[in-house]
């Protein structure tokens, strides 16, 4: 069913609703002292309208609004669009019949180099986004004109492994929250961009940093740390949105005496990595938040950390109020190929089945019962050579001969994975799961190195085969029930763009050559593309303002917004 969302939902704050108070009172006054009344009431109406506009323009993004984000499809209130991680827009003004007409409406330049990985939010006609080097900006969603801009003063000794990136903000009340490369969490005033509070969570010089968009649940701002390349001890933190006080911390590596600690050899747990650098999802029905974790450190060398290395490369079900672990599921045990499980854990309801679907970096598509963490199926969706067998519970397990060797061992997928952090999407209309797949194998060669605080800690190296070996990528539409491929759109080369699906029967993605592309969600046929001039390294989103739908995506150092002519 297609929601005709353009009619429903909240009106823009610049449109005066039909039933505004001034109109009603004016009717009640009748004919007495008509002229005086008219003047008075016009004034009163204007004042009332002004008050209403003021009230609306300072409309709070309440926790309830976040819970009910599907009721306001014109807005994009969190990183993945909703708590389920669907990255789906119920807007259908842009659809199969008119997608070919899309044109760029405006562009916003961050003027920064490097990768622009952010997804902006849209809240009542204002876009809140982040760019490289922890830039934060609020833009008029109609024109792209900046309202305020903020940039974190980053110290010189930060340790971003893979670019000075930031994937976005979260919002609650009149604050937007950003997690920064110097491992700070910062609350900014949503009207001015002024700092309301700022907390330092960990020592950035030792390799702790943030790159993800925070997740707000109730009154808490939840973040997961990056730094799996530096031998950190990973954690997920929750901060009081009002004050910045830390409410809980969940270490993704259990300490002495905690269950799972025995999965680490000796002292390796202290520097075992297991970051949590992708925004989680949330199931209000069971009050459970789902987070995913990254590789154990050193990322490509298992020697010295014998064991499964919990909770690296895992799905974690946490109580958002306390940070207590309800259950866990580990995708890749004792990983030696950098197969971070940091892909958005997507919540899908299939009849009575409450599921988490994840297309994992290790090349398998997993279906997990989200009420108890039980694995239901694991099906490869890309070329896999690291695992050729499954254990008693159906988990793919790594082959011994897939380990890195001194001479180099070719393993698929390569270290960048069969997919990576770029968001997948689940379309409740087509009931398909769309994911960016990368077909690239790497040679893994040992390069042992001692741990040194703040230094890269890989333990081995990986690089593409130097024989002629074409790498390629595709957008794949999977039937989540079976993991089977429904269709694929072949990219010219592997891409780092995520995917958005919409009620208009479309999926949007981008490619490494700079195209933003709209495809028929049912068939994978390309309906429209636009050349942005530099690689798309982000996941698209959609919003509507003044009754017009737009699609926004970052490419190069520019945020592009497209709409109908």
């Amino acid at each position: 069913m297609r929601a005709s969302s353009m009619d429903g939902g909240r009106k823009s704050r610049f449109l005066v609703p039909q039933n505004y108070p001034g109109r009603r009172r004016r009717a009640a006054l009748g004919m007495t002292s008509f002229c005086v009344a008219r003047v008075l009431m016009t004034t009163a109406g204007a004042i009332a309208a002004f008050l209403l506009l003021t009230a609306q323009s300072s409309a709070q993004v309440t926790a309830e609004r976040l819970l009910n984000s599907s009721k306001e499809p014109q807005n994009w209130l969190m990183y993945s669009g909703d708590y389920a991680g669907h990255r789906y827009s119920a807007l259908d003004q842009i659809n199969m019949s008119n997608a070919a007409l899309l044109v760029p409406k405006w562009a916003y330049q961050t003027m920064a180099g490097g990768k622009f990985e952010g997804t902006p939010l849209d809240v009542d006609g204002i876009l809140y986004g982040t760019g490289q080097d922890d830039r934060v900006f609020a833009l008029d969603a109609r024109s792209g004109r900046p309202i305020w801009q903020y940039q974190q003063a980053l110290p010189v000794d930060i340790r971003p492994c893979c670019g000075r990136v930031n994937r976005g903000v979260a919002i609650l009340g009149d604050k937007v929250f950003v997690a920064t490369l110097d491992a700070h969490v910062v609350a900014l005033d949503s009207k001015t961009g002024n700092v309301v509070w700022e907390v330092n969570t960990a020592e950035h010089a030792k390799g702790y940093s943030f790159t993800l968009a925070p997740l707000v649940i109730k009154n808490l701002v939840i973040v997961g740390v990056s730094g799996g390349e530096y031998g950190i001890r990973g954690f997920i933190d929750a901060y009081d949105a009002a004050t910045g006080a830390r409410k809980w911390r969940f270490y993704t590596i259990p300490g002495p005496g905690e269950p799972g600690h025995e999965t680490w050899e000796g002292e390796s747990w202290k520097i075992g990595g297991s970051p949590a650098w992708i925004t989680g999802t949330y199931d209000p029905a069971t009050n459970t938040t789902f987070w995913t974790t990254g590789n154990p450190s050193p990322s490509n060398r298992g020697e010295g950390r014998a064991g499964d290395n919990l909770y690296s490369n895992s799905l974690l079900a946490l109580d958002p109020d306390t940070g207590k672990l309800k259950w866990h599921f580990q995708f890749t045990q004792h990983d030696e190929h950098d197969y971070d499980a940091t892909q958005v854990p997507v919540m899908i309801d299939d009849g009575d089945r409450k599921l988490i679907a994840q297309a994992n970096r290790n090349g398998f598509f997993y279906l997990i019962d989200r009420t108890n963490g039980k694995l239901l199926s694991a099906t490869s969706y890309a070329k896999v050579t690291w695992s050729t067998s499954k254990d008693a519970i159906g988990r793919p397990v790594g082959d011994k001969n897939a380990s890195p060797t001194p001479e180099g061992n070719r393993v698929c997928p390569g270290a960048a994975g069969a997919t990576n952090w770029m968001s997948p999407t689940y379309d409740p209309q087509t009931k398909l799961f769309y994911v960016t797949a990368r077909e690239q194998c790497d040679i893994f060669a040992t390069a042992p190195q001692p741990y040194e605080a703040g230094h890269a800690y890989y333990g081995s190296a990986y690089f593409p085969n130097d024989e002629a070996q074409p790498f390629w990528g595709a957008l794949r539409a999977l039937d989540p029930a079976t993991g089977k491929l429904k269709w694929e759109w072949k990219h010219s080369s592997p891409t780092w763009a995520g995917v958005l699906s919409t009620a208009g029967g479309l999926v949007f993605t981008g490619d490494a050559e700079g195209n933003v592309i709209a495809l028929d969600a049912a068939s994978g046929k390309a309906l429209w593309h636009f050349q942005c001039g530099s690689s798309v390294y982000a996941s698209p989103m959609s919003f509507a303002v003044d009754g017009k739908q737009y699609v926004t995506v970052a490419a190069g150092s520019t945020l592009f917004t497209f709409g109908l002519p």
Binding site: F463, F471, S492
Partner: protein, 300 residues
Amino acid sequence: MPNFSQLRHFMQRDSRTFPRRCGLVAAALLVLWVGAPGLLAQEKNPYAGDAKVAKLGEYQFRSNCAFCHGLGAKGGGRGPDLTRAQKHHGNTDAEIFHNIHDGIAGTAMPAATNGGIGVGMSDEEIWQVVTYLRSVEKKATAAETGDAARGKELFYGNNAACATCHMVNGKGGRLGPDLTTTGSSRSVDYLADSVRSPSKRLAVGLSEPLKDFAQEYETVTVITADATLYQGVILNEDSFTVQMLDRSERLHSFEKAKLRSFQKSRESLMPTYDVKLLPEKDLKDLIAFLLAASSQGGAK
């Protein structure tokens, strides 16, 4: 740029507890701050010839450099062979250090600093890599491999006819890669292999910013809507368009959807120069020419 007040704060705080150490650290920091350009211009490798450091450098190289330059520094899909004594962007320790530290403008070589593509290497680690590179360096002179002057005749003459498609120092054709610097960026074995089996590794062409992998000189055959056939090499391509050079060195750009036919092949347009077509001696002379051409002012 260091924050001076932080530095001062650091000095004051530590001077009470560890005065001597603080003095040293502060002095070091001041050197870092004031004398940064001086330090970067450091010219001598402090570890030159140290085999242990070379081993550490090998691991650093694997972690940070091998992605492009290949295992053993023998050249990868897009990075040159670094075992060549003659390096295109400089042969001295200081030049190699600088190239790793700051990257090479106009090439895909990034700076080894945080926020670049790599994870960042300290100066010490860069010197380890320099030490490693010196330990795997192989000298190959034109004189050892063959007769460069005869190679030049072969290259530009009608027998091998390399110049039909390849250019050296501004003279020759455009359909294949310019070979001016190839002699200093690829090993003799690699060059021989490329002549004998040209389709084994296609040359790497355009590398777009932020894109992981460069375009290659793939062979393309298109038939346009009006039934004209063009064959040549792909200069660039995306999902919707292709930019190519045809056999007559004419540039074309096509929208794929408007073509009657579009076919790509990883069979190179270059003929396979087997021993019949190019005897072993000719091959050696040809390579000698490429080596000489790539040295400073060579073979002009």
